[in-house]
Symmetry: C5
């Protein structure tokens, strides 16, 4: 599923009409070329997918709301990026809004996307150019695909299914990053691992946050709540619900794994550091008393009996060695190193 975000300024109008017999497809760069009256007139037996990509300006939004009589509250939600995934039933059409997550040249894109599902049309409003629907366009262009034999509700299922598959792919990438971090932490943990773990954790949090409300959306859609979705398609939507549960399940598993890694990272770093400091301190602690003894016999007192003694020097060495060895034995016995 590759996504092609076409950098351009204005929004793009992409209209696909299809039925079991054939399909037609045309693009319009800016809103002048769009004949809004006609947009609402959809021929018998045809399903129309109107995809407005790259952020729809306010004026165009109002013209379309006029044609399809969309409630002002919906136009507000279409442009309000903090809007959470939800579904609202306006009887003759459904308003569905969600986050679409996918990689565009290994940069994570989070796109706000809204859908209006009518009896024979779907309008999709994408905040950024590019999306995860390439595969759906191909299936529409091919002759005997299930999508060509089905109506707007199956199209809506396919769009949701593609969005949810996008979450899966992002999760797979995160899964690989977790495996790599795990290897690093097991040998030599470092500060970089800290930042990498935090990044993965935040990504997982956003995936969880954006997929979570989609659960309610697909469960409502899959439970015969509206005439706009035929029973056969409900079965497919329940499959998407199933995949959403798996995504939530996998994010929670990844989070637990990460939490374990963070603990392991911190404790193994502090373990290693403690070992180092203990060994260093033991070395200095052994030498400090010896340096003291050396210092004592470096004193210039006139009357220092041992100084004159023939074997003074050797005696001192023996005393020092005895002290050092007994300290090492003592530390070994107490299992300090």
């Amino acid at each position: 599923m590759e996504s092609n975000v076409i950098p351009g300024n204005g929004c793009i109008f992409e209209i696909m009409d299809y039925s079991n017999d054939g399909f037609s497809e045309y693009w319009v760069e800016d809103k002048e070329g769009v004949d809004f009256e006609n947009l609402g007139r959809i021929p018998e037996g045809t399903t129309r997918w109107i995809n407005i990509d790259g952020g729809c300006p306010q004026s165009t939004l109002e013209r379309i709301s006029g044609t399809f009589s969309i409630h002002p509250l919906i136009t507000e939600d279409i442009t309000n990026k903090i809007q959470r995934a939800k579904i609202e039933d306006y009887d003759d059409y459904l308003y569905i809004v969600s986050k679409m997550i996918y990689y565009n040249e290994d940069e994570l894109v989070i796109e706000h996307i809204s859908f209006i599902l009518g009896c024979n049309y779907v309008i999709s409003f994408g905040e950024l150019k590019g999306d995860v629907f390439t595969n759906i366009r191909d299936r529409i262009r091919n002759q005997n695909t299930l999508i060509r034999k089905s109506g707007a509700d199956y199209l809506m299922y396919s769009l949701l299914d593609a969005i949810v598959d996008g979450y899966f792919e992002v999760l797979e990438v995160l899964g690989e990053r977790i495996d790599k971090v795990e290897e690093v932490v097991l040998q030599k943990s470092s500060k970089e691992t800290l930042h990498e773990i935090r990044e993965i954790k935040n990504n997982l949090m956003y995936i969880h946050k954006y997929i979570w409300p989609l659960r309610e959306v697909t469960s409502w859609l899959g439970k015969d709540s509206t005439e706009l979705i035929r029973p056969a398609t409900e079965l497919y939507i329940r499959d998407v619900y199933d995949h959403i549960i798996q995504i939530i399940d996998t994010t929670e598993t990844y989070r637990e794994l990460l939490a374990g890694l963070i603990d392991l990272n911190l404790s193994s770093v502090s373990f290693r550091l403690n070992e180092v400091m203990k060994v260093l301190t033991i070395i200095s602690t052994i030498f400090i008393p010896l340096t003291f003894i050396a210092g004592v016999y470096g004193m210039n007192f006139k009357y220092m009996p041992e100084i004159g003694w023939k074997y003074g020097y050797y005696a001192t060495w023996i005393v020092m060695i005895v002290i050092a060895v007994s300290m090492i034995i003592y530390f070994k016995k107490k299992k300090w190193f």
Copy 2:
């Protein structure tokens, strides 16, 4: 949405009467000028908004309760600042109480505010001078606004919507503070960051604590629970409910981000400190044995063979260098630095 808190002692009476045809507005500084009988008589087809700002004294409260026959328990809640957001249905009027949060010259104001919603009037009791309703007053003063064409229930929706928007703006400020803290923590974490993180955390907690009960208030209002709210307005109130969920959602996301930052802050501080201590201890541990050797040959024993030896001095230097270099190699090999 700017709020103008006018410092003054007594409470202010602000009465706005409006309908689709026109509107009237007058202020009274202190309660003498208020004709309480008349306050209750509202002309046909007019919506009256009585706003009592800056803390309503007990006597005034009793006079108003008399006019609008408000239950003594409500008067108690109006003055009890610990009162949590809630809604109480007294059939011919609703009592709604909530916290209003907004910035007044970048100082966070938490104001206790109560509303009585009647069939054609709304009374609002604000604990402090100033509020977030400036925009609503303008819309009432303008000719063809939706608010002028609607009744008291739409006014109540607008007041709630303004309050909830206040929470959004406070959250945005906190979002920016989190971004700033994130940059600081990534380079050099310090004790100041600790205090800033704690302050943001406490603010988030209060927002969560005050918005949370508003969820139940707007969900009850949006579900056809009372005649006082017409179905069209219920749709708008459900939109406020939607924004409340987003605020709760965002506070929870910010809390998780902060928790991550706190961990990162603590672990990166302890990481850096450990590095410093390890290097310092390695340096001293290398020199301590050398100082011991120097100390040994600083001893004044009569008979010390090496002392007299021609190359004693150079030999000692070689021994010391060998010891130092071998310790460094040993530490390098064990990846201690």
Copy 3:
């Protein structure tokens, strides 16, 4: 709300009969003076409050159970201090048990208190002398108070309301202690703060533990579950329910604040300690190599060229200063201090 715990051994019988017209009140120190038969006979239109304070001995308990035909299980609960707050519906009477918390000369008292609510009487069994009902006794003694115009159910509401207000006052004291601890932690945290924080935490835990079950008690009482409570009084009981939610709300907020303080306390202590240790270690690490050099030229080798050299001494000083300064620059550059 002051409470007067009268130290005395036996339990006290305090019987108050009142109606809108008048009231009577008499005390009996020990059970001999109590005429148990008469205790059950309550004149028409009168509400009787029998308060047995300071722990009711088993024999008295059995005599009273006989008069008011109280189930043996209740007598067991009245004396069982671990009994959790609960309500039990025995049709012609309700059994309510709870914890009463109040300060008696700034020592926190947790008293086990049981109530039997009949159609025109309330019997209260207090484990210790003294309670939080002084204000209620005054209201009964005054002529035109709401309590005098109401029955046993309003009395029961007033008793519960007084108990819950007791929790509020204890919470306010804890709130002040948290503010004081916050100031201390922000400057210089110490071990004493640890103990103070732990004490506040335990107090909050007990408040939460004892208030929590009261939620169910008042919510059951406020929901038209028994004939013994008239609708008007249910409104008042719902207000007590409201205050209980606020208490739970406030304890949870205080707990979060405390958790923040504990983290801040621990991290700022470890921050400060790390700073101290780092500076001290830097000082010693700078001097150790210099002491080594001094030690080298303190050696008594016969042939040590530098020793004889005229500027040996000054050269050594220069070398030492160069080493010290370059170490300081190195540490500064690496932002170690």
Copy 4:
């Protein structure tokens, strides 16, 4: 409640028949002496309690299942020690399984015990010799006790009540251990406290784990779910449910207290250690520069002007004292000790 675990190999059959008029009781060491046919025939108006203690061998279990037509799944659960407390309704009998916890010479015993409650009989299968039912046997042997006037359902209540009281007694012991640990931690925490705290924590966990499912068992039994339990006995069973809630409540309180103690233990240990290390490091940091100065004037350079100087020695002492004192003042000012 003392329990007498009689060490012996085979299981013991203990059959008590009782009614308001009289009671009979006999023991059989091994299964040969048991007349299984007769075991099922219970005289009119008599309640039979068959207690099989010390682990019932498979063959005996099958003979009894034959007599009382017990489902094979139950025989499996009777011997499966990991089986969680639960209740299963087989219409003409109930199968109840639970854990029995009690101290046997201050060693905590966790015994798996199953009951079959029929209309006029209770069969109890205890995994180990000894139990907590001594008090019940006495009440059966006494003439005018409530148990003698009641049927098998009241016997079942008494058995459950005795089991739950067992949990209370174990909790009391743990409560005392927590108080002792608290005193220790407040003065001088040590590693032993760590082990003691962990042991208490694990015991609390097992109590919580075994009592938790009993909640559902007694709540089902207390809610008129089966003909086998008369309404009057349901009241008593609800009292056991009440005590179970208290046990859960108390375990959770003890867990919070313990968590607080663990934190306090760890932080006060690290506090104390930090103080020690800080003081020690300050002492050495003050002496290291002085030792350096002593080392400098211990050098044997020919030309060292200060050496010859008459007051060189005293000047050095003054310099050293000045350095030491100024370091101490500096540390004091920065509140480092």
Copy 5:
């Protein structure tokens, strides 16, 4: 329950037909030998178990879906390893998918396994060669076993029961590993214990994650939700549900135990380290002042009165000993060691 994973490439078809009178069993290595038409025709009164092990290729999957008219969504789930345990009711057949966990030569195997339960057949699709059903095959081969007298629903119960028993056995192994780790941690904790604990924790997490959804599967099956399961078998399935609760219960207990061990491990390591560092630092802190004194009298000043003093040397020794002893007493009194 031993499982024999037979390494081989292609998938194996294993078909067992049985009834109370007899049974037949044949194997086919690759799909050529499989007569798909016949596979669907099952003789009267016979139960057919078709086990396709070692990963079923797409083509075979489609041929079987054709014969048993299985929905395309199911074929997708059969091969999708991330699929969570679930049950889907397609009226004339049930689709059950789960994870099967067992040890194959002490290596933990997690196998994705799907079942199609028809009125008189069960098809099982195992992802890897080998499973936990050996015991079931034996019971089918034996003459008078309950399984031979029952239908496809009892077979399905036996398969689920075997899978759940597999989880038990894995848990028992983990239980033993926890006991071993506990002994290690109690004496000398080390980094290896860290890795072992983390591995056990991750295993427990996966068991919990895979068993959790099975709870809903067996609870749905045990509650008379489908004609395909007879009431008698529902009783057995509820027993499996019972065992699943025990597994969840045990995993949660093991997790708490492990958490306790991790804390104990970390705190006892830091305790021990602190002791070591404290003793070492105390030793060096005692010697540093003494070395200073030695250094002072090692200075070569011409005029040093004490140097010439007859008892200078002994006086210095006394001073040094007095300092050392008083420091030790001071440290002892402050309970520093």
